[in-house]
């Protein structure tokens, strides 16, 4: 299968002093659910930002859906984000003065054209059809994260990237949100998670572990799935 995401010897230096990612190489295939784990400061979020085209490698190769993200201009990277990825944040990042429906429509507006019916359907997928007219402040943490998931799905992205998506949720809401991710995975979405939680990571097809910006050779994978292939291990 042709990998959807390819990283080869990706390095990310900040100010020439801090190396957030150090020669990271890996492949992620379409439909895979990959969890990125590691201690704080290990480079998990940096890796996610690279794949989301929010950040750029200092060196190395980074291909997503055949697009070389290293050579893109800022405007091309914006286009890539709105067309290829759906982002889910730990802090939700919903616009406080827009309703749940309008927050979903915002992603549509930047992508092409806002359509309230489609946005309502997306909210229905995450079980929030009755909460469409509520402001974020009127929603629970779990509901806010579900709005965030609906917003990430609305433009039918190739990849869903989530940074600690259950980090601010209680156990009950965590189960609800993870249930949605499992549904998405079964529907064939490619998911890449950053998480601290081994329980969350354990639900992924495979786990990638970072330590001081380096990909650890020891990785795990879910039952019945192929082992992680880190390119440098293969090379």
């Amino acid at each position: 299968m042709v990998p959807l995401i390819v990283l080869k010897d990706v390095i990310r230096d900040y100010n020439g002093k801090v190396r957030a990612l150090d020669r990271v190489s890996l492949e992620i295939c379409p439909g895979e659910w990959v969890a990125v784990m590691g201690a704080s400061g290990s480079g998990k979020t940096t890796l996610l930002n690279m794949i989301a085209a929010l950040d750029q490698p200092s060196s190395g190769l980074l291909l997503v859906d055949g697009i070389d993200l290293v050579s893109l201009t800022e405007e091309d990277r914006a286009r890539f984000r709105r067309e290829k990825v759906g982002l889910i944040f730990q802090q939700f990042h919903l616009v406080p003065y827009l309703t749940a429906l309008e927050n979903v429509m915002l992603a549509q507006y930047f992508h092409s054209m806002a359509d309230s019916d489609e946005a309502a359907q997306a909210l229905g997928l995450v079980g929030l059809e009755d909460r469409a007219a509520h402001l974020p402040s009127e929603l629970s943490g779990g509901e806010q994260q579900r709005v965030c998931i609906a917003r990430a799905l609305i433009n039918e992205p190739k990849i869903i990237l989530a940074d600690e998506p259950t980090g601010n949720l209680d156990a009950k809401n965590e189960d609800v949100v993870m249930g949605i991710f499992q549904d998405l995975h079964r529907a064939g979405h490619t998911l890449l998670f950053v998480t601290h939680d081994p329980h969350i990571g354990g639900q992924a097809d495979r786990i990638i572990e970072l330590n001081h910006g380096r990909l650890l050779p020891a990785t795990s994978h879910a039952e019945g799935e192929p082992p992680v292939r880190a390119l440098r291990d293969i090379a």
Binding site: N49, L54, E75, A78, Q91, V95, E102, L106, Y109, A114
Partner: protein
Amino acid sequence: MLGRLLLKSLWRQKSRTLLVLLSVGTAATLISAFLSIAFTITERMAQEMRSFGANIILVPKAEPLEVEIAGLKYVAPEEAAYLDEPDLAKIKTIFWRHNIVSFAPFLSRVVQFQGRPVLLVGTWFEREISIPEGKRLFSFAGGSKREVATAKGTFRAGVRSLAPWWQVEGRWLREGEEGILLGSAVARALKVGVGSSIPLSYEGKLALVPVKGIVRTGGSEEDQILADLEFTQKLFSLPGKVDKIQVSALATPDNALAIRANRIKPAKLSPQDYETWYCTPYLGSIIYQLEEALPNAKGKAIRQVSEAEGAFLAKMRLTLVLIAAVALFVASLAVMATMVAAIFERRQEIGLMKALGAERSQVGFLFLLEGSVSGLLGGLLGYGAGMALARFLLARTFSMAGAGVALPLEWVILPCTLLLAVSVALLGAFFPVREAMRLDPVRTLRGIG
């Protein structure tokens, strides 16, 4: 979606939106008020300034040869030419006689006081004259005729109405009274005060005249001695003669026709243009009519008044423009400060937009649109307030008809005000928005940018 985003964003930041509206609205108020006043007062100011002095001078057609010695002009008796005092009433019989605000005759000669030369000027201080009764027919080459009847009446002429700002310490001279008013500079130089009598000599004649007052005019009259015309006519042995008449007339500012008439002589105008020109109170047509009434006289526009008027209006316009510019600048700063604060507060929202795929231009457009809408609303509010302010100021300052005054060119002022208001808002928003466009989504979403 854009509309929802815009309205909800403006509504959510009510206090900031209100601040921008107030800033832009204040500037728009001043701009619309000043534009309105500037349009309205141009003619009004011309009229007001007309009341501050003569704008036409009539002299004999045969101008005498004057010799200037030590700042005083001497005329040889045999060279002198005069106008006749009894003809003065004809000034009020011309077509535009109602535009003649005042006039005063003058007769002046250099006299000696204690061996010093000083200019003695005879004039009317306040004289009620009878206007000749009768009908006058004004016929034009184009065939049209205009008959103007002059009702019997009187008219108050003299320097008191010609130059109402003159101030007299002591008292004014009465009609036919023997006595003098000393110009304040002369009084200082000669160390003479009100109540004393001074000897004046002219070609061997000596007259001892009491000083009735000291006059301050702010002009050359402060270096002169003023007396009643009749007194000077007797002293100079020139009964019924005057050598100059100053006239204050209400005139319409020159337009292309008036300028053409001044250049090519009125007689060369087409009959239709001539009639239009003659029947419009241009300074040139009033002078022309005065010369018709007094065939021996030659009229001139007093440039000092016109230039002073032009300079004053130019300075006033400049002042209005400067105040408006300062208001615009301050409003821009206020908008900028507000936008900087708003963008700082909303940087995570901007980061989110960029993370969702918004391009720099989309983010910039959104914030500039917010600024434009605020500017437009502020402009509309300011326009309404500005029109009210203009009416109030015109009523208070120019005694115009208060709230009922019709302001000219309101349809021009509205778009000008709105354009400036939106420009101010955009100018104020420009630099903060540029910074917003540059925000790094990774840093702002993590709350460190």
